[in-house]
């Protein structure tokens, strides 16, 4: 088997839903052994979001939302609120490099599993926490779910049509941003441990991680003291820079010109060479000032054309253009297919289907998806038996006492 970049790293993963599991998906894809720990009574919410018909057997093992974000991981169930469960978790921590969690700020301490406790079990442990606001400050206990994060981070205030309200991103955008940030932060701590021999506590406050992606607006505000207006799809100084209708129902294409030469090329493809010398459009500042007129002309041209035809013709002359691709488009996208972006995966209960592959493509250290996502409690035997050394009887007793389970109690997600 190919060596992977994080071979030999073991992570205990207490996270659920999207942000945390996305972080550990990135790390598991890179070769880390991620052991996902779920509560028998509060399994990962994504297991409940299968969209399968009611009555489907073991739906919790067949949610694509869960199975895409948890592939390459091992999964155990363990009740951390039970003293024996907590003790076993600390035994697991002794064998791990890092622990990651995205509970609300106070939960880990309430379980008596804060950094100090983990460090006592494993002196060089790295703990990564992903609270919405941070673990201190007056708002630390406020609820901040998916879509709230971009509102708190300042991003939503910058998103929107001109003159319109702030607009939400179509996804809970704060989640994958915090996830990628947490993966990076954990790796930083590993590299630091390598040099200093010490672990540490790492905190990824999700709203702060996302504000990091609009830092120029923060610095800009401190210069101008002016709230930046929402500018839709436009650019601070390039023009055109917009999204235009194309043939078909709800089909769109984005087009941008980064300089005058690209605009001349666009005019050529539109067969409107006179535009390139029109005083309103000849140079970028003029185009920027006359964007309403310019967008009407370009939109008139694109409206009757196939979006991929416009894309091909503009790409050929070096003008940035791209159809607005939907998830349906992406699944069939010839570029992604040519790159092998989708790989077929077989899951022992959910069947066989296409899944996006490892995102960080290393030339020598990339591998196909190694294992499908764990069924609920699938690796209880391996982790509690083989890794922690419990006997078969002891492992069976855990399940009998409800400290572990192989069938989750889904009641909390009804």
């Amino acid at each position: 088997m190919t060596r992977l970049p994080l071979d030999g790293i073991r992570i205990a993963d207490l996270s659920a839903v999207w942000a945390g599991p996305y972080a550990t998906r990135l790390l598991a894809d890179l070769g880390a052994e991620v052991i996902k720990v779920e509560s028998p009574n509060n399994p990962d919410l994504l297991r409940a979001l299968s969209l399968l018909p009611p009555g489907t057997e073991n739906t919790w093992n067949k949610s694509a939302y869960f199975n895409h974000n948890n592939r390459n991981k091992l999964g155990v169930s363990l009740d951390l609120a039970n003293p024996r469960g907590r003790e076993l978790f600390l035994k697991l921590v002794e064998k791990c490099d890092a622990v990651i969690e995205n509970y609300r700020a106070e939960v880990l301490d309430k379980l008596d599993l804060g950094y100090g406790v983990l460090k006592a079990a494993k002196p060089d442990i790295i703990l990564v926490s992903m609270p919405g606001h941070g673990k201190d400050g007056p708002e630390r206990d406020y609820v901040a779910y998916g879509t709230n994060v971009e509102q708190l981070a300042g991003l939503a205030s910058l998103t929107g049509y001109r003159g319109g309200p702030p607009q939400k991103t179509g996804i809970s955008y704060g989640d994958p941003v915090a996830g990628a940030a947490a993966a990076g932060a954990l790796l930083l701590a590993l590299l630091a441990r390598r040099r200093t021999g010490r672990g540490q506590y790492v905190e990824v406050a999700q709203r702060e991680a996302l504000t990091g992606l609009i830092g120029e607006a923060v610095v800009g505000y401190s210069m101008t003291k002016e709230i930046p207006p929402r500018i839709g799809n436009r650019h601070p100084f390039w023009a055109p820079h917009g999204c235009f209708p194309s043939a078909g129902e709800d089909q769109w294409i984005t087009i941008a010109c980064r300089d005058d030469a690209e605009f001349v090329a666009l005019c050529g493809v539109m067969e409107m060479p006179a535009l390139a010398t029109d005083a309103r459009f000849a140079i970028a500042p003029a185009r920027h000032a006359h964007q309403d007129d310019l967008e009407a002309i370009i939109g008139g041209w694109t409206a009757s054309l196939d979006r991929f035809e416009v894309f091909d013709r503009l790409s050929a002359v070096g003008v940035p253009a791209m159809p607005v691709l939907t998830y349906v488009d992406l699944y069939e996208n010839p570029h992604l297919r040519a790159r092998g972006f989708f790989e077929q995966v077989t899951h022992r209960e959910a069947g066989t289907w296409d899944m996006e592959r490892q995102l960080y493509q290393f030339n020598r250290q990339s591998e196909h998806i190694r294992r499908s996502a764990p069924c609920f409690g699938e690796h209880n035997d391996y982790v509690f038996g083989e890794l922690l050394g419990l006997s078969k009887d002891e492992v069976a007793a855990l399940e009998k006492e409800g400290i572990t389970a192989t069938t989750p109690n889904m009641a909390s997600h009804q």
Partner: protein
């Protein structure tokens, strides 16, 4: 030119070149000269950055803010194109005082080198002798065209991590098409879900397609550095922004892959369902994100406990069946609320309601102030401005504050101090336009 070639010859043929690199004096980055140095996560690692875009700049900002010695190679004269982005704090110094540049190029060392010259490229190679990583976000093929293909670099520098960031990846039919943040965002799928259903799809604020690629490239580079430290072998990384975005469409792409359905629809504007949306209030906008278990807290916040009993709203399914009526209730309630008061009351009872923070709200946020997230950074030409802190907090090896480098500020420090050139060499190189 002749001197340049001689120098190139010396670089390639001089067997002592490795020793020069190894013995190069480590010049402390600016921040460490002015503050007692806290331990940093990436101390001792050197990164050569050829990037000219936001993706690469954000990747290497995170590396430099956490202690790596990032040497940023810039075009003589104009420098990194992102220097030119407005607003600039001093319009007479547009390349030194732009907000985007000031934010993204913190703690890096700037050296000007013309990579269209053989000598310029050879000097980059000499820098790579002592480097741990190379980051590049320029158009696909440029690195190889300059004689620096990842394969050839790894032959010469086996421990190097070469991170190439691009909108679509280094291979495939889109690899060479021109792109910018907007078109890259359209490619990733997030845009198709953003905006009002009866209007055009909308990009989100700023340069999110490029930042996402940069953030992921940072994590990927660190994984490469870890692996190189473990095994003594480097690797090259092909990071596609499109792929990072396509993997983050909530349940849309994954469930569609599995169930072969396309029933999730597209853009749903500001209100996904009544309990998840952005609503106007008296002085701004409130964001509600209530899951079934939050219903009691939300109705308490709204002083509308009656809704828990109302058969239209008493459970999740009935609420979904009466979504329009529930939206009407939400609009009626939010319109009378002031954003900060509603947020504070929501916090007290853990109701899932936040408000849309604009830039002024960030600057007056009690939470961010309590955590000192925003802090002043001084710069010799731009003056003191407010910057976001690091996006994550490492308790033992925190991110370091610092400022952006002036264009070519570290030419002497690097070309003389690190590479061992003489003052006379520098004059020749300047005369030939290799540096400035």
């Amino acid at each position: 030119v002749e001197i340049g070639l001689k120098l190139a010859h010396a670089v390639i043929c001089d067997t002592d070149v490795t020793i020069i690199g190894a013995e190069a004096p480590v010049v402390k980055p600016f921040a460490e000269e002015h503050h007692p140095p806290p331990p940093s996560a990436l101390e001792g690692l050197r990164v050569v950055d050829l990037s000219t875009g936001i993706s690469g700049a954000y990747c290497t900002k995170l590396l430099s803010d956490f202690g790596a010695d990032v040497i940023k190679i810039e075009r003589p004269g104009l420098g990194d194109p992102i220097r030119a982005y407005p607003p600039a704090n001093d319009p007479t110094q547009p390349l030194e005082t732009g907000a985007l540049h000031l934010y993204l190029n913190t703690n890096k060392r700037s050296v000007t080198l013309n990579l269209d010259t053989l000598t310029g490229r050879d000097l980059v190679e000499r820098l790579l002798v002592g480097a741990d990583a190379l980051v590049d976000d320029r158009e696909v093929g440029k690195l190889a065209a300059q004689g620096l293909s990842p394969d050839s670099l790894l032959q010469r520098f086996p421990r190097l991590v070469v991170t190439q960031i691009s909108p679509f990846g280094q291979t495939g039919p889109y690899a060479n098409i021109p792109a910018c943040n907007l078109t890259a965002f359209a490619a990733g799928g997030q845009m198709s879900l953003t905006g009002d259903p009866d209007r055009e799809p909308l990009k989100n604020g700023g340069y999110q397609a490029l930042y996402q690629a940069g953030l992921n490239a940072f994590a990927a580079t660190l994984a490469g550095l870890w692996s190189a430290a473990e095994t003594g072998e480097g690797d090259s990384i092909d990071l596609s922004g499109m792929e990072c975005m396509a993997s983050t469409l909530e349940l849309m792409l994954n469930t569609s892959c599995y169930l072969h359905t396309a029933h999730f629809g597209g853009r749903r504007g500001n209100v996904l369902s009544a309990a998840i949306g952005v609503y106007p209030c008296a002085d701004g906008y409130l964001g509600i994100h209530a899951m079934p278990r939050n219903w009691p807290a939300l109705t308490a916040l709204m002083d509308a406990e009656w809704m828990r009993e109302d058969p239209r709203f008493h459970d999740a399914a009935s609420r979904l069946g009466h979504d329009d009526e529930l939206r009407a209730e939400m609009y009626a309630w939010t319109s009378g609320q002031s954003k900060k008061e509603a947020y504070a009351r929501a916090g007290e009872i853990q109701a899932p309601v936040a408000y849309v923070h604009d830039m002024a709200d960030l600057f007056s946020s009690p939470q961010l102030a309590s955590r000192s997230y925003l802090s002043p950074v001084d710069h010799p030409l731009a003056g003191e401005l407010t910057y976001p802190g690091p996006p994550f907090r490492l308790s033992a090896t925190p991110g370091r504050p610092g400022r952006a480098a002036l264009l070519g500020e570290h030419n002497e420090e690097i070309l003389q101090g690190v590479l061992g050139l003489t003052r006379a060499d520098l004059d020749v190189l300047t005369g030939e336009g290799v540096t400035s």
